[in-house]
């Protein structure tokens, strides 16, 4: 058991470095955000996790073209992912546009 965990960590050590450093970057980057920007920032971050669409595209590329059920599921996943990305960035942009006018 312990062996397995150590092997898993060792094999993925680069990924784990990325994770730990990204956590710190995420925390530092937000730092002192003014309260007025809370909602746009949340929305922008929402769009960024839409990067999960890359995973959905990979699933589809790796699925054999005969497997219709899997392709259909992948199709739905890509639609959802795109909604997250495009909708997310568009909403954020609109919020910030309003922000500018107010100023």
């Amino acid at each position: 058991m312990l062996n397995e965990i150590i092997n898993f960590l060792g094999e993925n050590i680069q990924m784990i470095y990325i994770i730990i450093l990204s956590v710190f970057v995420g925390v530092e980057v937000i730092g002192k955000v003014p309260a007025v920007l809370h909602t746009p920032l949340m929305s922008g971050a929402n769009a960024i996790h839409g990067v999960v669409i890359v995973g959905a595209i990979i699933v589809m590329l790796n699925t054999p073209a005969e497997n219709i059920l899997a392709l259909a599921l992948g199709f739905v996943a890509v639609v959802f992912g795109t909604l997250n990305v495009v909708g997310g960035f568009a909403v954020t942009d609109r919020m910030l546009e309003m922000f500018k006018k107010k100023k």
């Binding site: 937000i30 809370h38 909602t39 920032l41 839409g50 899997a70 990305v85 495009v86 960035f89 942009d93």
Partner: protein
């Protein structure tokens, strides 16, 4: 020169735009530009993946039908997402964010469902898949409930007797089921689908008792959940851009959630477990 390296460099650029984008989004003067930078990086990552991605063991094929399907899905999502985002009233923005967040969660959950069978026998990969599946599903159903609440489709706070205990029990059962599946690795998908449904139910239970005024905080929390789910996907595929994007949103989202709580003068535990105060006020 290997094609793979070009994709790696594209992912590197995209990751940097995400960090820069978030950084710029937290200052009023640069916020709009920051959003555009991140969007540009995202477009690069998506186009790069479609054109250049190849599985290390050669599973990747590019039959025209698959490329057409992928492009069609992106087309539909782009048009629908753009139109909704542009047309909806300004006051309805937060619920829209919640809806789009739910879409991301659903995407992560579907990836988990599809990858399960391919990774039987690899305990580490399965644990990653199951974790992404659970968190993605909870984020999906939770975000949809948050959307319906802000939308005022679900007006009345629904009170479930002793929901704190119920929710904790459901959450622990969910985690135990996940561990059970990773350990026993059933070949049939049925158990995994059940886990998926169970996670959806937990997402509903998690958000339902929370009062309307606390919704933005909950959306922010679910937002960081989806980030985490995306990161699990990145770990599974050894895909750096998904990993950095997901973890960044996960950690920045958590800090943002805490900042929002602080601005409201309410500790996070109150928001999640203390719905009775706001429920009583609303009722």
């Amino acid at each position: 020169m290997e094609v793979k390296y070009i994709l790696d460099i594209i992912y590197l650029i995209a990751s940097v735009t995400f960090v820069l984008g978030l950084k710029m989004l937290s200052h009023p003067d640069t916020a709009r530009k920051g959003n555009l930078y991140a969007a540009f990086g995202m477009a690069l990552a998506i186009i790069g993946t479609i054109l250049l991605y190849n599985h290390a063991d050669g599973y990747t094929t590019r039959e025209p039908i698959k490329i057409i399907l992928i492009l069609a899905a992106i087309g539909i999502g782009t048009i629908a997402g753009w139109l909704t985002a542009r047309r909806v009233q300004m006051t309805k923005m937060p619920e829209l964010v919640s809806l789009f967040n739910g879409m991301g969660g659903a995407c992560a959950a579907i990836i988990g469902l599809m990858e399960y069978e391919h990774n039987l026998g690899k305990t580490g990969a399965l644990a990653t898949i199951i974790a992404g599946l659970i968190i993605g599903s909870v984020s999906f159903s939770g975000s949809i409930i948050a959307f319906l609440k802000l939308n005022e489709t679900m007006k009345k706070p629904i009170r479930i007797p002793s929901y704190n205990i119920l929710n904790t029990v459901v959450m622990i059962t969910l985690i135990l089921c996940g561990i059970f599946i990773v350990y026993t690795q059933p070949e049939h998908l049925l158990l995994v689908v059940l886990l998926f449904v169970f996670a959806l139910i937990y997402g509903v239970l998690f958000v339902i008792p929370i009062g309307g005024a606390d919704m933005p905080v909950v959306i922010s929390l679910l937002n960081s959940f989806t980030g985490l789910a995306a990161a699990f996907g990145g770990f599974l595929y050894q895909n750096q851009v998904m990993l950095t994007g997901g973890i960044l949103v996960g950690s920045a989202g958590t800090i943002l959630t805490l900042a929002m709580c602080k601005a409201m003068n309410r500790p996070l535990s109150n928001v999640i477990f203390g719905a009775f105060g706001s429920g009583a006020a609303a009722g």
